[in-house]
Structures are given as structure tokens and as C-alpha cells.
Point group: C2
Chain length 209, copies 2
DNA sequence: GCCTAGAAGCAACAAAATCGCTTTAAGGTG
DNA sequence: CACCTTAAAGCGATTTTGTTGCTTCTAGGC
């Protein structure tokens, strides 16, 4: 019971994690996501299958980890001079990325092998962070801003709901409509939105590279 | 190429389907959802494993079918005299059912083994039907009513998003808040909501009981 | 009442997941 | 800086699951 043995974020474990993730990225490109098997990934990564089974449990949890990594936004949203413009552009790009076939696949994978919701929470946190960046800029400009939570309910949630549950209509016009409704709501409904700090946590067993 | 051999909705196939579904319901109660295996289900149902593999492909698709069945609403929403009251009560019940641990499990299962989105679409259709019932009643009373799509975006989507992606705060107060915002929006934004008939389709290989 | 073909059963096989045990090497300790 | 301690990786035997070709059954059409 030493105080902090915990996870082992560096060294061999880290190398294994990295080579396994890399193996998956390669193999998804070569044979397709559906043909993946644990033994196949293990061979490519140069580890034994039992290592993967012990660390991740099954292929789904592993794919979930990889998916979350790929859903991490690479850059901050563009600064276009006004909150409205920033949100429009961001929402449109969000739809483009998330509603595309690979995007849908990543979302599904992220949700799939995620018993405790950690990975799903992380996805949500990414969106919230992006929104916060835009809101912070708007505040600095002196614009009135809605709550992060309101934007999540009004913009992010409908988009994700449609991606997961419904067929058609996910285009730029829809994005603008959502943004319009969300920012105009901020005037009429002011503080009526939920105010709740989403605590982004991450722990579990996985060493982040 | 005879005109309608198709699926075979009755007879032995139907009995097999029913006994397999029943076996799953029983076993989920006995050993828990995570301990299920195809051979186990097959034995309990009195069929050979290969039958299950051939008809459903894998455990996930099978669980997805069962989950959708259980997510089907059993009754129409209560008629409480006004749209507002109906929606409040319905949203609260929706949260209770869907955000409970078993509810979450069904939602996940329904999304999971569902390559083509048929089952997910069905879930969404259930909610839309319930909403339509309430709206139709409101119209008969002479109340002004919002679009179904607006209610899906403003009430259903945020709830489902939070269930799937975010931890806390899913209570009756939140439900009321969403409903309030949705019905008041109908005044200010009138026809600004999306208008799109979601075509509920169902085909695939499965004979519905 | 006979055909037909879609589905289930069966059994041999192939692939996967699991588990006990051994070995390696991070990272803390004296 | 050598030395422990211990989490994690490797290995191989074993169990469990998934696949496949072929046979048998039977619902539904004629």
C-alpha cells in the first residue's frame, strides 16, 4: 500500500499503449474497422494478445479509447469577430466532422466500449471546452453571452441526437438555425438555463500518453 | 425469384424468435446483462447457437432488438388537460425511465448492435409518436402547438444527450425547464423550427413477432 | 396433399478469450 | 547507485466462442 504506485504513465507500459494504438490506426486503414480482431492488433503491435485483454478487456474498450483520441479537437475554434459568427462556423464544422461516416463510427465506438461513461464524458468535455473558448472571447469583446450549458442543450445536443437516432437533415442551414435560437434565447430567457459545472474527470486504469 | 417469400413472420421462426427473446429477458435477470453469452442464451432458449449466429450475427444485434422492444412505450401519455401539463409529466417520466441504470443500458444496447441505424430510428420514432399524441390533443383543445421537431430538439435531444454523454443533473426540475423553454419558444419563434417528416422505416431480416 | 425454399439442427472445425505462472523493468528506497 | 518491490508484459495450456458445410424440418404457395 505505498502511496502512489497507481498507473505507471511512462516506460514500457506507455510504449505498449502507443504501439497498440498505432497498430489500430494502421489496421483500420488496411482491413477496415469491422475486420479488426484482438489477435490481429496484438501481432501488429508486437505484443501478446493477453496483454491487450488484460489492459483493455476487449476490443470495444480499446476502440473506444482510440475513438476518443480522434474526437479530440485539434485546434481552437476560429475567431471571426463575433460570437454569432464563431458559433455558426463552429457548429457547421462540428456537423461536418461528426455526421460524416467516419465521425459517426468514432462516436459509436466511443460510446460502445465505455461501461462507466468516462469516454463519453470526455467527448462532451471537448465540446464544452470549445464553446468556452468562444464565450471567453465574446466576453472580452463585451458581447452578452449565454451559458455554456444552454449552448450544449440547444446546439450540441440536437446535433448529436440526430446523428445517433435520426436519419436526414444535418446541414449548415440547420446549424445556423440552432445557433440563432440559442443566442436569441439568451436575451429572452437570460438566467433560465441550467448552471452546472461539468466536472471533467478522468482516472481509470489507462495511462494517458 | 417468387414475388413474396421474404421473411416468414409466423410458424417456427416466430417461435424461435420469441423463445430467444424470452431467454434473454430471463437470463438478464438471473446472471446480469454482462455475463450473457450466445451459447448460454441458445441453451436456455432450446435452440442451437448457430441459429442465433445466423439470424442475428452476434449478441449485440440480438440485445439491440430486445432493447428496442423494451423501450417501446406501453401507454399513451396521460391527458392532464393542457399541453403544458402533459409535456411536463411526460418529460419527467421519460427522464425517470431513460436515465435509470436499466434505461441507460437499454439505450446503449439499442444503439450498439445497430449497424444501419434502424433500431435507433425506431427509438426516436417512439418519442415522436408520444409527442404527436399530446400535440394532437392540444390542437383539439384549441391550444397553439409547437412543431414536433422543435420539441424533439428542445426536450428529447438534451435529455438523451445528457444520458449518453454527461454525468449529473437529470431531474424533474430540469425536465420542466426544458418544457418551459420549448413551449415559450413556440410563441417567439413560431415557424423557425425545422419541419421534416422523419420517415420511420423498418425492414432488414427480422420478422417482427 | 404435394413442392419448394427458407430456416433450424448438427457436428466438425477454426478462432478467440481466459488463466496460472514466469519474466521484465519502472520507480521508489536506503 | 545498487537494490527491492511490484505493476505490467510474455508465454503456453486450456476453455469458450464463433463459423461452416451439410442434413432435416416445416410454413406457405400451388
Amino acid at each position: 500500500m505505498s502511496p502512489k504506485p497507481m498507473v505507471r504513465p511512462g516506460g514500457r507500459s506507455a510504449r505498449v499503449q502507443e504501439s497498440v494504438h498505432a497498430a489500430i490506426r494502421e489496421l483500420v486503414g488496411e482491413v477496415g474497422r469491422d475486420a479488426l480482431t484482438v489477435p490481429m492488433v496484438a501481432t501488429r503491435a508486437g505484443v501478446t494478445p493477453s496483454t491487450i485483454y488484460r489492459r483493455w478487456g476487449d476490443l470495444q474498450e480499446l476502440l473506444s479509447d482510440v475513438a476518443v483520441e480522434r474526437l479530440r479537437p485539434e485546434t481552437d475554434p476560429a475567431d471571426l469577430g463575433s460570437l454569432r459568427a464563431d458559433l455558426d462556423a463552429w457548429a457547421e464544422q462540428f456537423i461536418d466532422e461528426m455526421a460524416s461516416p467516419p465521425g459517426r463510427a468514432y462516436i459509436r465506438d466511443a460510446l460502445l466500449g465505455d461501461p462507466d461513461g468516462t469516454n463519453a464524458g470526455q467527448c462532451s468535455a471537448y465540446a464544452a471546452e470549445q464553446i468556452d473558448v468562444m464565450l471567453a472571447r465574446a466576453v472580452q469583446r463585451g458581447e452578452p453571452v449565454p451559458e455554456t450549458e444552454l449552448l450544449i442543450d440547444r446546439v450540441v445536443a440536437p446535433i448529436m441526437y440526430r446523428i445517433l437516432f435520426r436519419p436526414g437533415r444535418l446541414d449548415a442551414a440547420y446549424a445556423r438555425e440552432l445557433v440563432t435560437n440559442a443566442v436569441s434565447a439568451q436575451q429572452t430567457e437570460a438566467g433560465a438555463g441550467p448552471a452546472q459545472a461539468a466536472a471533467p474527470r478522468r482516472s481509470k486504469k489507462k495511462p494517458d500518453s
